[in-house]
Subunit: 254 residues, 2 copies
DNA sequence: TGACGCGAAAGATATCATCTTTAATATCTT
DNA sequence: AAGATATTAAAGATGATATCTTTCGCGTCA
């Protein structure tokens, strides 16, 4: 483990005949990406320092620097400064990716309705799989979040926060990291900034549904868990779409 | 439209008191991101040239360049060289994002099983929404892809390609761009490299299911469309998980 | 434990190369 | 001769290189 990839060991490197990449740094980025997909470059592998990469590809340090910036932004490498520093292949960071998605969805002008629909797909499957795979640790975490939410029934901001955490914990209980990453992204986009219509009555209702959901997960009733989550998300979606017609990325909850 | 954001007009700029960003370029990136989320910076807005940004933030061109590289990698800006060049806020590019997710999932070592489960969630909702929202244009595109797949029953590689396109077209017919982006990402990760078990008989069966699905979408039967897609994807998943236990990102299809 | 030094990225400055737009100029056509 | 078109020149911007100083992390040695 933590070896050096051959590509980054060889003394010389020739650009491919049909180098589609326009800039030199893009060619370096492409090389790394290829090695990644090919599986010859794995997390925690050492890529080299700026000077080394520059020498390897026969370019200046700035070009290597540009490539590092790009790869860093993509979450592919981590860069350490100082002795024994340099670039190393990173372990994937779901949060970094969630950020990127949030920006992309914002730029594309995705509507709240689309986001909530996608969220429904993710959350329903999460509930279903959680009922099948939840460990006792998952369940106790869910119960803990329930208690926390119950203690903040009055504070709508705090209640919303712990509700979001609850939904994320359900996804984690599914044992599927893709679902967790997707849900994080979508929650981030539709992050609540104000909670106008979250009355104590509504909060109590939400808390009841959440409790019922944990019971179904513990009972391993996947079908019912899925159905309950579906109704729950549909309700949220209906409320939010009614509140604000399509525009704006405010207010998500639960 | 295409205005210049105030932040990038002012003559000076002071870093926030609690500048969490370690590097100067990261501070610039953070500024742009904030402006994006705040909505004061919109697609096709002009950000400025390297020299302008450098002057604005009181740093060297290298720093501005680093920030540009990062924002470019995130798909936030497009950079043009030459007179009247510089950085401009990009329209979101779903493919770029799909790439990023693919890399992240690869780095995190996500199993095929997890990917296929997530794909099931996305595709089922896509089928359901397609039945509700598909336009005549969507339907004719789906029919076209069916015909194309039928003509390539013998060529397993070509058949797989058009099958993937079919599934993507279903997502597009749903009218939900989030689903399209998610499906693209997942397909990219589990891209087929070899198709060992795709016999003509299996291909014919898949084609039949796809045809039935289009019929259900045309009939606006959302519930049935969802159920059919669910069974379909479950079948695919079962076959692929059986083929290779967990490891490796080869072979997806349909 | 602390101070020192080394290695590496972070950042600055200057310079050249390359590309793109714009405009001025030259040439061709009618 | 006037207008349309092709050519060329200049300006402005990124791409790329070289060299330098500063800052930061790590290991070593006292």
């Amino acid at each position: 483990m933590a070896t050096v990839h051959p590509l980054f060991k060889d003394e010389k490197w020739r650009p491919p005949a049909s180098s589609g990449a326009a800039t030199l740094s893009a060619q370096i980025v492409a090389s790394v990406r290829e090695a990644l997909f090919e599986g010859t470059l794995k997390p925690s592998d050492f890529l080299g320092t700026e000077k080394e990469i520059a020498a390897r590809f026969g370019v200046s340090r700035i070009v290597a620097r540009d490539a590092f910036r790009t790869l860093q932004a993509l979450g592919v490498i981590e860069i350490k400064v100082g002795a024994k520093g340099g670039a190393r292949v990173a372990r994937g960071d779901p949060r970094l990716f969630a950020d990127a998605l949030a920006i992309q969805l914002g730029l594309a002008g995705i509507s709240v309705r689309e986001i909530l629909d996608a969220q429904r797909a993710v959350e329903c499957l999460a509930a279903e799989l959680a009922a099948e795979h939840a460990t006792t640790a998952d369940l106790s975490k869910l119960r803990g979040l329930l208690a926390q939410a119950a203690s903040t029934l009055g504070d709508s901001a705090a209640f919303t926060r712990s509700s979001l955490e609850f939904h994320l914990a359900v996804a984690e209980a599914s044992g599927n990291r893709v679902l967790v990453a997707q849900l994080q992204s979508l929650q981030y986009v539709s992050w609540p900034q104000r909670n106008r219509t979250l009355t104590r009555t509504v909060a109590k209702h939400i808390l009841d549904v959440h409790g019922e959901l944990v019971d179904l997960i513990e009972a391993r009733d996947a079908k019912a868990a899925r159905q309950l989550m579906d109704d729950h998300v549909k309700m949220i979606r209906a409320r939010r779409v009614a509140e604000r017609g399509e525009r704006g990325h405010d207010e998500a909850c639960c």
